[in-house]
Symmetry: C2
Subunit: 204 residues, 2 copies
C-alpha cells in the first residue's frame, strides 16, 4: 500500500503538468487559428507558440484536426461558462434582459469567433475536417442556444420563442462576421440596442 501511495503522489504533479500542457496547446491553437487562418495553422506552429516540443504536442493531439477541433470546443465551453457566470441563476430576467442579449451577442466576437470561422470555412472544402466540424458546430450551437434560453428566462413551449432566440444567435454570428475586417463597434452597439428592445417586447 505504501508503495502504491508513493507512486500516486509522484504521479499527481505529472498529470497536472500534462493537463497544463494540453491547456496551453488548446489556447495557442485558438490564437494561431484566429491570427493566421487554417492554412497557416499546423501542429508545429502551435507547439512553438505554446513552448512545447512537437512530439509532446502530437502525444496530446495526434492530428492537426484533433488539435484544432478540440481547441475551438474548449474555448467555446469556457466562454459559455463565463457568460453564465455573468448572470447567476435567475437574475438574467430580473435584472436586465437587454444586458443578456448584448452579452450573448458578444460570444460571437474576438479570437474564438475568428478561430471558429476559419475552421468552418476550411471545413467547407476540406473533406477530413467537414464531418468533425459539422458535428462540433451542432454541439456548440446547441449549448449557445440553451445558454441564451436560460439567461433570457424564456419558455420555448410558447410558439415563436424558439425561433426568436435562434434568430438572435444568427444575428450575433452575422455581427461577428461584420467585425472581421474592420472595427464595427459603433454600428454594432446601435443594432444590438435596437434589437434588444425589439426582442424584449417580442419575448414578453
Amino acid at each position: 500500500m505504501g508503495t502504491v501511495n508513493a507512486a500516486r503522489t509522484a504521479k499527481a504533479p505529472q498529470q497536472e503538468r500534462s493537463r497544463a500542457t494540453r491547456r496551453g496547446l488548446l489556447e495557442a491553437a485558438v490564437a494561431c487559428l484566429a491570427d493566421h487562418g487554417w492554412a497557416g495553422s499546423t501542429v508545429a506552429v502551435v507547439a512553438e507558440r505554446a513552448g512545447v516540443s512537437r512530439g509532446a504536442a502530437q502525444h496530446h493531439f495526434p492530428t492537426r484536426e484533433d488539435l484544432f477541433t478540440a481547441a475551438v470546443e474548449h474555448v467555446a465551453e469556457e466562454r459559455s461558462q463565463a457568460l453564465r457566470d455573468l448572470f447567476p441563476a435567475g437574475t438574467g430576467v430580473a435584472t436586465d434582459r437587454r444586458a443578456v442579449v448584448a452579452a450573448v451577442v458578444d460570444l460571437y466576437t474576438g479570437p474564438l469567433f475568428r478561430a471558429a470561422l476559419h475552421l468552418w470555412v476550411a471545413a467547407s472544402y476540406e473533406d477530413q475536417l467537414r464531418a468533425r466540424v459539422t458535428e462540433l458546430e451542432a454541439r456548440v450551437g446547441r449549448e449557445s442556444h440553451r445558454t441564451a434560453v436560460d439567461l433570457l428566462g424564456v419558455d420555448e413551449s410558447v410558439p415563436g420563442v424558439r425561433e426568436t432566440v435562434q434568430g438572435l444567435l444568427d444575428m450575433a454570428r452575422g455581427l461577428g462576421l461584420a467585425t472581421l475586417l474592420s472595427d464595427d463597434t459603433v454600428r454594432r452597439e446601435r443594432v444590438v440596442d435596437q434589437w434588444a428592445e425589439l426582442l424584449d417586447e417580442a419575448l414578453d
Copy 2:
C-alpha cells in the same frame, strides 16, 4: 469616314468577345472560390474553368486579387439587381413585406455568399487582400442596405428603423454562415418566418 466606320464595325464583335470573356472569367472565379476556397483559387484554375488561356485571363485581370474582388462585386451587383426585379417599384410594401424579408435573406446564400465569405476570411490574414476586400465589403453592404430599405418601403429618418434593417442584414449573414456545412433549410425558414413577423410589427 468609310475607313473609320469599317474599322468600328470590325472592332464591335471583338469588344463583344472581350466582354463575354471577362464575364465568363468573373463567373468562373466566383464558382471556383465557392468550391475550393481562397487557397485553391488561382488565375490559372479560373482560366481553365472558363476555357480561356492564362494569358487572356491575365490581360483582363493582372493579379489574383483583381480577378476575385471584381468577381464577387460583379455577382453581388447581379444578385442585387435580380432582387430588385422581383419586386418592381413600390410593390414591395403593398404586396408582402415578409416576402421581401425572405428574398433579402436569400441574398446571403449559395455560391455568391460562399465565395464572398472565403474572400473576407482570407482578407483577415492576407495583407494584399485586406484593404481591397474591406472597401468592397463596405460598398456591397451599402448597396444591400439601400435595396432592403427601398423594397421594405421604410423611412430611415424614423428612429430605430435604420438599425432594425441593419440587424436583419446581420441575421441574414449569420443564416448564410449556418448553411455553409449542412442543409439548414427547415430551421432557416422557421427563423425567417418569425423574424419577418417581428420586423413587420417593428416597422409599422
